[in-house]
Amino acid sequence: MFGLNSRKDPFLKRPFCYFRKKRNTIDILYRVVGKVTTLMTGLRAGDTAEVMGPLGNCYPVEGVEGRKPIVLAGGVGIASVYPLLGALVGKAHLFYGGRTARDLLLTGELESLSSGLTLATEDGSAGFRGTAVDAVRAHLKGRDKRDFILYACGPNGMLKAASALGVDGYIASEEKMACGIGVCLGCAVRTPAGYKRACKDGPVFPIGEVLFD
């Protein structure tokens, strides 16, 4: 959770992933969408901000067991799966989607971190024309889905489509959060066992556990 805490407005902290963690620094990769992310663009070296974390769980990599990992990232979801590519020691095939070629970042570096990189853009300006989920579906065609394990992070629509691919794996929820520590119950994710908290019980959930509308 990241906040500019000297103020009463913006009031709440915002959830971000640890994109890259070095010895004394944490990099955050963010998309400018509103209040806090706009203010972040104005930060200068030496300015202070409050960071609370790490919070929540991680993608489990123990379950791979001979299966071929597919990593699926939509937009800024790439920040979440970036450390995962490292944990999977270059064995994952990355499917990375955005609206246009301009939305796809760091593609050179991502290529070196994965066994294969498939880009997808809705306007066809780079790679596969369509969504990254469509690209995964095309990749799986004629193959046994049981040979794969899927890790996905992106907008809710993408997670819903990814959950319907029929491949085992995990998705990282991007629910809105107020506290990030499990006290507000704001980040509700619907599961067969009732609502769970994306911040404390997640954000990573097994595919099938999150019920979409």
């Binding site: 906040g3 805490n5 009463k8 407005d9 913006p10 009031f11 709440l12 902290k13 209040k35 409050e50 609370m52 629910e175 809105k176 959060m177 107020a178 506290c179 520590i181 499990g182 006290v183 507000c184 119950l185 704001g186 980040c187 509700a188 994710v189 619907r190 009732g194 609502y195 404390k200 509308d213």
Partner: protein, 305 residues
């Protein structure tokens, strides 16, 4: 100022300092215990509980608004049995008074909840008759003076040991309801609960909360809350617990000057889990800086009226 200078009383309940958590913003203490020693709190007010577990409302349940937020959690809670079996024993590890916040869909549910919690030994019971986020019960008691008075009196008859606190809605005249609570046997009143509110995304034209209307909290509501605490405290002799947008010691002092005996820190915990402790420290520093020996000396001490 000594530590004793921070002590306050809510009826027969003695607190080591006047700072509580606000119900629904601190869970049942499990998460905050990872951040600080819960025994530092004046009291731990638990997330609202009902007889049966409640699912809560669909997402999105929260949205930020200028200097605050709107929520519609819908009283998602574990229900009385799990509360008594798991949650209450957990906070009992700390030397901190426990205030159980309860919510029923009818008077019988309130009475049963209160009786069982009193039996279980909680130090106080806070009747939530002011939640804007559920369909039945709750706020309907908070808005109708006759059913409100009957409910408070009926619960009072069942509660033998615990202090009885009634949490008022800002959606009704607080002086009238505070007075009725006192006359019906409450030991204290608390206010304010969240203020019914709406925010709309102008691009999608959808409400930013799935349930459309939610409750506003945070610094945005503070001046309204301070005014209501002032009005309520002038209408009653019993202590008033003030809340609504408190995020620092200065906010808390303002509530006390307006008439609050104790205060609760709510949404500010979301921004900073340590907020309640900071408020306690800053109240102490204010007193020290001005040679104030007892925090109760601040209550109702607004000058010039």
């Amino acid at each position: 100022m000594t530590d004793r200078g921070l002590q306050v009383r809510l009826g027969k309940l003695k607190l080591k300092n006047p700072v509580l958590t606000a119900s629904g913003t601190a869970g049942y203490g499990e998460e905050l215990a990872e951040f600080f020693d819960l025994s530092k709190l004046g009291a731990m007010v638990m997330k609202g509980i009902s007889l049966q577990p409640w699912q809560g409302n669909p997402a999105p349940r929260i949205t930020e608004t200028p200097c605050g937020m709107i929520n519609s959690i819908g009283l998602q809670n574990v229900g009385l049995d799990v509360f008594l079996r798991e949650k209450l024993p957990f906070v009992r590890q700390w030397d901190v008074p426990v205030i159980a916040n309860i919510l029923g869909t009818d008077a019988n549910e309130y009475i049963r909840l209160a009786a069982e919690l009193d039996e279980a030994g909680v130090e106080a019971i806070e009747l939530n008759v002011s939640c804007p986020n559920i369909k039945k019960g709750g706020i309907s008691f908070g808005r109708d003076i006759n059913s409100f008075s009957r409910l408070v009196a009926a619960v009072r008859r069942k509660v033998k040991n615990a202090a009885l606190i009634v949490k008022l809605t800002p959606d009704a005249p607080v002086d009238v309801f505070a007075r009725a609570a006192g006359e019906s046997g409450a030991d204290a009143v608390s206010l304010i609960n969240t203020i019914p509110a709406l925010a709309i995304d102008i691009n999608t034209r959808r409400p930013l909360i799935k349930n459309v209307i939610g409750g506003l909290s945070g610094p945005a509501v503070k001046p309204i809350a301070v005014r209501m605490v002032y009005q309520a405290s002038r209408a009653v002799k019993i202590p008033v617990i003030g809340m609504g947008g408190i995020s620092c010691g200065a906010d808390a002092i303002e509530f006390m000057l307006a008439g609050a005996t104790a205060v609760a820190v709510g949404s500010a915990i979301f921004r900073d889990p340590m907020a309640p402790l900071k408020v306690i420290e800053e109240i102490g520093a204010y007193m020290k800086g001005r040679g104030i020996k007892s925090v109760s000396g601040i209550t109702g001490a607004m000058a010039g009226r």
